[in-house]
Amino acid sequence: MSKTEFVDHSLTENELIYVEKSLNRKPNSVELSMIDAQWSEHCSYKSSKSLLKLLPTKGKRVLFGPGYEAGVLDVDNGQVLTMHIESHNHPSAIDPYGGAATGVGGVLRDILSIGTRPIAVLDSLRFGNLSNPNNRWLLQNVVRGIADYGNCVGIPTIGGELSFDSCFDTNCLVDVVSIGVGKKKQLIFSEAKNVGDILVLLGNSTGRDGIHGSSFASKDLDDIPTDRSAVQIPDPFIKKLIIEGTMDALSTGLVSGLKDLGGGGLACCLSEVSDMGNTGVEVDLEKIHLRESGMEPYEILISESQERMLFIINPDNLDTISKCFDKYNLQYSVIGKVTDTKHVIITNNGDTIVDLPTELIANAPLINWPKTKPKYLDSKPVSKPELPVDIKETLLKVLSSPNLADKSWIFQQYDHEVGTNTIVKPGESGASVIRIAPEKFIAISVDGNPSHCYLDPYNGSAGVVAEAMRNVISVGAEPIAMLDHLQFGNPSNSDVFWTFNETIKSISDFCSYIGIPCVGGKVSFYNEDAKTHDAIKPSPVISVAGLIKGEHNLRTRKLHPSRPLIVMVGETFDELGGSEYYSSMGHSKSGIVPQLNFELEKRAQKLVRDGIKVGLFGAVNDCSKGGLIHSLLQMCTISDMGASIDLSNIPSNCKRWDELLFSESHSRFIATIKKENFTNLLNISRNHDIPVSIIGSIGGHDFQVYNKDDNLFSYDLDYIRSYVYDSLSKFMDGQI
């Protein structure tokens, strides 16, 4: 085999000059490969780091926030909750099955790396329109990839969300959230802190897959065929064994540090553990178990082969720890040691081939890109669409959008029951609930809204946080922390960077106001069309975790005859910009996006939390995407129970029925109460200064909308379920 050298780096001229200046020499090609991997946008956050500092990260339950493998929250009794979010956008666009599966694998390793057991996965997916067969192919295989990985590894995929927009035609987004639980005293960090400890590489052999993976994720997608080797190969079976072997090893209490190998492979792993531990490391390449012969040193260092973990342990404990690996027939090799040199030193056949200061590799120079407000945001508002003549036709059209469709086509492919703790299952509410101890539950949501964020990055992004919070509140939880995943186009495009800046500002402002800490996140840039350079719409995805104590506080969307009255909490405004309604009417490019009034949102959230606490509210649902009508229909279809509402009772100044039914105004909920609780409802409304009114009642099997005495809409639920809400399965099973 001919010798190949690493030449294809993505460092800028300034970065190269900086490296040479710091080293006082030119880096050799292997050193360059390591710096290139670690300084990729994906690993270094060089374009976003300074802005991300704006996010509030402190809270009464936060033990560790951003900067660690996963956010860590104290959930009482010595128990911790860990949470992390990752994406695998670029790999999934090329190899949807492998890309999505390794995305799940990656986020599970992060939860494991901090010493906790992953207990659930959720995913947030964005694709182009389903009428394009390529997008159907992507969706089908992304879902299969997530399912095959999560199902095999035995971790339930308990929820998520999905939407479609043509801006994702060439850049699908595949985000995965994972949560874990563990003991506070068993937390472990990704640090090589003790000089003399040894480095043990556990798991899969290192091969040529995922070479340049993180650099590839840090540029536009182009030249697809040759980039295929940049996609990693998943192996959930080995992952399952690694999880068990790692948990066994951690229970010995003899592990000093632990880190997963993800983006940037061994190169990033080594520089990060020594930087965190303020030490150096020395690694002998010949000791690493390889999948194939003839691999070049740089390939071994930057390979992103999956299912690998680095253990840092005292050499005296190797016998005990290796027994935990042997039980599962896991491969491992002792590849090096922790030194006091503060350098990463790599040897091969006795030659030193890398000798770089840890600090240099681990700290890429930050970039501050110019920002300009995109012109489209200042364009003149277009007048509202005319009020449609046929209300029935309009309703059916909006409701049959795949964005609002029933998602069980996806959820049924995920084993969401394994672990026997999934209490609120996918589709039963906007958040899912998993039990972590008797009478103790975690609610978790993941949300996004590219249409709102495109037209109004500030209100759109803060609104996503609010929606994700409302979803966990709707299942009876107290929100305790959030994760943000910021997905944008190329940061060197000043329009893109302006929207990025605006997004972080709004998320920070709202989180600080309402008091929810950010405990982790991710940034994914370069999501743009390689040919046209059109960026995706600004796509922050927010995941919120909440804590529920006591079974009696659990809520879902499910209606129950004991609470027959339907209550609307909060006011509906004339703000339909970016709504599902406008996009169904071909009016997606303008309009006023729902504005987030921080104060109002806080009061509405508090009202619902109090209403659940005192047992006033039965079924509860957030009211946002698709408007009031969709929110109520979600409740009816899951319960197989009809409802009847009167538009004239909705708290609002809107006059048009389309505004009342389809507005996606924030700070609103739908809930049900008992007939005799009307007075309590008025009291709670007055106490929180939020308008509340009874808009209808449940019962029967028809879904009916009235305006005073006029019946505007009446359909049997079965009809809605099988002919309206099934658009996703119809598309995917080839019936459309």
């Binding site: 049924q412 394994v418 039963e428």
Partner: protein, 237 residues
């Protein structure tokens, strides 16, 4: 009483099953690693829980079917030891010949995770606690759950009362509309001719806690309870 729960590499419903015995039924259960050479005879019953033994490599259940622990199971099954294979455990039992038939890829070619209605077709060791013809609810979660046997064998299963559960609607109609995976004759669970070995695709351990059930039911635990009650009677005798 002590129940052995066999763990293969890739088994992932072992702990869930263990908890049902220990926490809900207050019956001792022991996690039994597949390489353990202890005699299984001392256990009163044996469970092969669900999961992805050996990552479903080659074919679901086939590698585990050749493991030494299965040799022990074959010997003990002849002695009448109660054995339940759930999901992947059922796949292992058919691959090892302890139960008739085969489990093929679901007819929709997808993994299916959902709650289903099941008609109790026959009362035996594992279903004594149910009224005959009851309809019970449990979730399924599998990619290869389409039960298949030849027509002759199917008639034999019927004759010998080996068909224990069938997919149905909530009224017990076992029509094709209520067949989630294309199983022949809607079969969800079968036993061996002797009635001491049960294979089932639905997960009883996931239907043993009413908080987990969308219908607030706990029908799954009755499968285990039936077995324990029958064992207690046998032990007394």
């Amino acid at each position: 009483m002590n129940v052995a729960i066999i763990q293969f590499p890739g088994t992932n419903c072992d702990i869930d099953t263990y908890r049902v015995f220990n926490d809900h039924l207050e019956v001792d259960a022991t996690l039994f690693w597949h390489e353990n050479t202890d005699n299984l005879e001392k256990y009163d019953a044996i469970i092969l829980p669900g999961g992805f033994s050996y990552g479903d490599r080659l074919r679901a259940g086939i590698i585990a079917a050749y493991s030494p622990v299965i040799k022990q199971l074959k010997r003990l099954s002849l002695k009448g030891k109660p054995i339940i294979g759930i999901c992947n455990g059922f796949q292992i039992l058919v691959e090892s010949g302890l139960l008739p038939g085969a489990l093929l890829t679901n007819s929709n070619l997808k993994f299916i995770c959902k709650w289903v209605n099941l008609k109790v077709e026959h009362n035996n060791l594992f279903t004594n606690s149910f009224q005959s013809d009851s309809v019970i609810r449990m979730p399924i979660a599998h990619n290869e759950g389409r039960y298949y046997v030849s027509d002759d064998k199917l008639q034999e299963l019927e004759r010998n009362n080996q068909i224990i559960l069938r997919y149905s609607d909530s009224d017990g109609n076992t029509s094709l509309d209520n067949n989630p995976n294309g199983s022949i004759s809607n079969i969800a669970a079968v036993s061996n001719a002797n009635g001491n070995v049960l294979g089932m695709m639905p997960h009883p351990e996931r239907a043993s806690d009413s908080l987990l059930s969308p219908y607030s039911t706990d029908d799954g635990i009755e499968i285990f309870r039936s077995m324990i009650l029958s064992l207690e009677v046998m032990l007394k005798e």
